[in-house]
Subunit: 252 residues, 2 copies
DNA sequence: ACAATATAAATTGTATACAAAAAAGTACAT
DNA sequence: ATGTACTTTTTTGTATACAATTTATATTGT
């Protein structure tokens, strides 16, 4: 066992955090596939820590929506249904529009410069044709806009929503055999923000997501191969019907 | 309190969940004040469980934004600054607008009926003048709209944002010595949804939040009395500058 | 007095033990 | 073969022990 040997590894962070990061990455990259079970002892052995930090990491991931916990049964990598993906995108559509609007109002001149560069970089990446690079450039471009909002809560939520779909990013990129439309949208969005035209920027952002939705959903329907079947469980008196969380709203 | 929780069936739930609910309620109602420390052993004794479920509950609350964890130092009830409140409201503004739009498209006729009744009930509550009842009726009204969207992710996020401000709901309600404007807005929103006029509904929802922002912020500035001062901690090499979470966006 | 430093106390982080529940496996009857 | 009761194995839920770290307190030197 590792004991308290800091092992020189990543940092002085609590184990819980490093475990959290590792699992998270594996889920996002698809190394851990949807439906795959996350068993505490197994993971503890594999990562050479005790069950405690594993448990805590899994619970963090659950609240993030990347993991589903079935009480007294265990955790599994969250299945994402078409409906759920659609829900996520519906929210993203609205929030990406908000990001763009806010960016129009709040982007500094250096923000705008970086946006121009990122836009350029994306175009160059598409010419080279490397999927990883293209996806990276796309993320970088949008990230500048997101950060320009200066609204940390918004940034957090947008990131979270993006994470839910991270697994599909390559399909999405690979889908567009010609990136002409994508480039056009990026340019238009960039210009709108530079000009401070919130109305326009908002509209483009929405369109942008709509296009994404189309291609991601198409791919989801085609390749269902990677997902594992969800485990069924014996009926139990305690099992609440339906919702995965209290979802107890306390609206103001 | 309002809260759509099925109380009492906690018997079969894991302790972690019941602890989570208890702490959550205490934070939202203000029984645990912002800045107050959450110490594991202390809470464990008080609630008569071991530290383990306490820890897990606290971590859930952290991801929800109701608790702040300082590594190796402990957890405290989240302080909410004016900037953060503003950020929350900025997102809510956008999402409440989205809720209203979606409600226009998706509300069933029974939804609409219930909305009318809830609107009516709110008016009656204002006449009676009981703050608790008014706040409850307000929540109920908005909850119908939220649920009508049929978008579970959206519902979850909106609830979470609402929770962040739950502590201020009474100030907000009490502030409006005459509820005329509030009633007018509710009625207008209700009518827009019944008519399916998404554009109009969206606009009203935004105004509604703007009004809230105004009065909540005013009250926040006045009564800073209840908040405890945050503990300061020794500088540490591990302490990351700024952000409380990796926040590593993986945008698509 | 005041600051710096050493010492003690409190508190969190992690590992581990054990009980409770669920899942998987097995034998048996039909 | 199929279904059913029973047993075993696996896995989670909770409690607890101990190490590591931080916070509080006392002590000392100036």
């Amino acid at each position: 066992m590792a004991m308290y040997t800091n092992e020189d590894n990543d940092q002085f962070l609590p184990l819980r955090e490093t475990v959290y990061k590792k699992l998270r990455k594996q889920i996002l990259t698809g190394e851990l596939k949807p439906g795959e079970r996350l068993m505490e002892i197994h993971l503890a052995n594999k990562l050479d820590v005790s069950r405690t930090p594993i448990r805590e990491a899994i619970r963090e991931l659950e609240l993030e929506g990347l993991v589903t916990i079935i009480p007294r049964s265990g955790a599994q990598v969250a299945q994402i249904s078409e409906k759920e993906l659609r829900d996520v995108l519906e929210v993203r559509r609205s929030l990406d529009a908000l990001c763009s609007e806010l960016a129009c109002r709040r982007a500094t001149s250096t923000d705008k410069d970086r946006l121009k560069k990122a836009c350029q970089a994306f175009e160059e990446a598409t010419e080279k044709g490397n999927s990883v690079a293209i996806a990276g450039a796309d993320v970088a471009f949008h990230e500048i806009i997101t950060q320009a909002t200066e609204n940390h809560r918004l940034i957090e939520i947008v990131h979270n929503l993006a994470d839910q779909m991270y697994r599909y990013r390559f399909e999405y990129i690979r889908d567009d055999t010609n990136y002409g439309q994508l480039i056009k949208e990026h340019r238009a969005l960039m210009n709108a923000i530079v000009d401070g035209d919130a109305e326009k920027a908002s509209g483009i952002a929405k369109q942008h997501i709509d296009r994404q939705e189309e291609s991601v959903l198409r791919h989801l329907r085609e390749g269902e191969s990677t997902q594992q079947k969800p485990r069924k469980r014996r009926p139990s008196a305690a099992a609440a019907p339906g919702s995965r969380k209290p979802d107890q709203g306390a609206g103001i």
